[in-house]
């Protein structure tokens, strides 16, 4: 993309670090994360809102970063997979994906996990059918779906146990 005459400045927090950036207004949040900030954990699948690989949280809600213009993200809080866990200290959802073989090639996985974390806060019913619907925005070409559902359900049940303890 050639430099634009319309550069504009945005300030936004990504994984609790505040960034002040001069951007071309055409930049998507996805490209800002991957190309400008080198946060390549968030993936580009379709680039048209159809696959969910680019799922991140903006102000606590899961959204598609490929259809989000960075120019509209002034003042927002973004959370990406890099802000969830570290290799030495995985988030329980990441542990559950490993325990249940919730991926094969792994390309969709960061998006799956960002969606799965949001699902924990959303008003879905308790059964697996509800999880299938809740997670339908994250396509997995490797077809790890049953294992993904199992991982999400395990974490949800764990939370239930914690809450009742």
């Amino acid at each position: 993309m050639a430099a634009s005459a319309n550069q504009l400045r945005i300030n936004l927090a990504i994984n609790d670090t505040v960034h002040g950036l001069d951007i071309d207004p055409r930049t998507t949040l996805l490209d800002l994360l991957r190309e400008t900030l080198d946060l390549t954990g968030t993936k580009k699948g379709c680039n048209h809102g159809q696959c969910g690989a680019c799922t991140v949280h903006v102000n606590g809600q899961r959204v598609l970063s490929c259809l989000t213009l960075a120019a509209l993200c002034d003042g927002v809080q973004v959370r990406t997979i890099e802000g969830i866990g570290t290799p030495d200290d995985l988030h329980p959802m990441q542990d559950a994906f490993i325990a249940h073989d919730g991926f094969q090639c792994g390309y969709c996985t960061s998006g799956q996990i960002m969606s799965a974390l949001a699902v924990l806060e959303e008003p879905w019913g308790p059964d697996a059918a509800a999880i299938k619907e809740a997670m339908s925005g994250n396509i997995c070409r490797c077809g790890a779906y049953p294992n993904i559902v199992a991982a999400v359900q395990e974490v949800r049940k764990g939370l239930e146990v914690d809450r009742n303890a």
Binding site: N6, P25, G49, V63, L67, L69, L72, S136, G137
Partner: protein
């Protein structure tokens, strides 16, 4: 994507002024439709006017008469999960939740949903002819891949189906769209908001360039508590409808006392038939009555080579939905 300048509007007046100053400007709300079409080169605005900073337009207000006023910037998710929407107008909540995915519904606004573009395969395909994208170029859907296209309200120039789910429910519920512009506020009946293609398929909405949607009013309708939305599609989730039904039913004994019925993805606009509803009112609430109404609904339908199946599919779906609502009403 073509270059554009961003304008952040803090008030409706500022947004209207920016629209007036720039004939090729577009408002942007959730961006889920517009950004995609800008990437496709179908939308090439010189200016984007960000209306997300407009205050007071993102809530759902319950009205005393049992109705609702829904802000144009309320997210599709917020409306779908809102308890007043779920209790008073279940068809609306179900329609929203049947559309797109949570990520998209979190971003998408109600105003943007009303103005979403059609999903005809040829619309975003620059190699194809399309009278909506390039007026006067022709319509490749007529004799092309028209499986998703409309059978009602079509013209010789366009057969694209209206793709929205929630608009089907809003049509059944006689919603009113509140807009403001250079000439002040006006209220537009939902039936008039979306335009059939006729000779000008590119003119899609009853909305001037300088106008923006402020909110959507859903009038009180007590029997809409017994309503539902059925969406039939190629896969169970994350797909546009082949046909969809939004209906509400009120019985008086074994007789249909009142009914609302709109069908989605079969018309060039969200479709309703006064004759079909009249045929049910006062008639026995039986499968025969519902099937007769379904026949009336599709009188005058014009199938193309690929989409004739929609007529029978929708008729059976109407009967199934009415039977379901009948059981719930008893």
């Amino acid at each position: 994507m073509r270059e554009f300048a961003l304008i952040r509007a803090e008030t409706a007046d500022a947004a209207i002024a920016a629209l007036t100053a720039h004939p090729n400007a577009r408002l942007i709300a959730g961006g889920t439709n517009l950004v995609d079409l800008m990437k496709e080169g179908v939308e090439t605005p010189t200016h984007l006017i960000d209306i997300n900073g407009l205050g007071g337009l993102d809530d759902v207000q319950a009205r005393g008469n049992g109705g609702l006023m829904i802000g144009a910037l309320a997210s599709n998710s917020a409306v779908a999960w809102h308890s007043d929407v779920q209790v008073r107008f279940p068809m609306m909540s179900e329609a929203i939740l049947a559309g797109a995915t949570t990520q998209l519904r979190n971003m998408a606004t109600m105003g943007g949903n009303l103005l979403q573009k059609n999903r005809c395969f040829y619309y975003a395909n620059h190699a194809a002819r399309c009278n909506k994208r390039a007026p006067g170029s022709g319509c490749d859907a007529m004799d092309g891949v028209n499986r998703m296209c409309a059978v009602l309200g079509t013209s010789d120039h366009c057969i694209a189906a209206h793709p929205s789910d929630v608009c089907v429910a809003l049509r059944a519920l006689d919603a009113v769209v509140h807009v403001t512009g250079v000439n002040g506020h006006r209220a537009i009946d939902f039936a008039d908001f979306h335009k059939r293609p006729g000779d000008t398929p590119h003119v899609e909405f009853e909305l001037a360039h300088d106008e923006l949607i402020l909110g959507i009013e859903v009038p009180g309708l007590p029997f809409a508590a017994n309503s539902t939305y059925l969406k039939l599609r190629d896969r169970t989730s994350y797909a546009f409808a082949l046909v969809s039904i939004a209906a509400a039913l009120k019985l008086e004994g074994d007789t249909v006392d009142d009914v609302r019925l709109a069908v989605g993805s079969v018309g060039t606009v969200p479709w309703r038939s006064a004759d079909a509803e009249d045929a049910m009112r006062g008639a026995p609430a039986t499968a025969e009555t519902f099937a007769k109404a379904a026949d009336i609904f599709f009188e005058g339908a014009i199938p193309r080579a690929g989409n004739g199946f929609k007529i029978e599919l929708a008729k059976r779906a109407i009967v199934r939905v009415m039977e379901t609502l009948k059981e719930r009403a008893i």
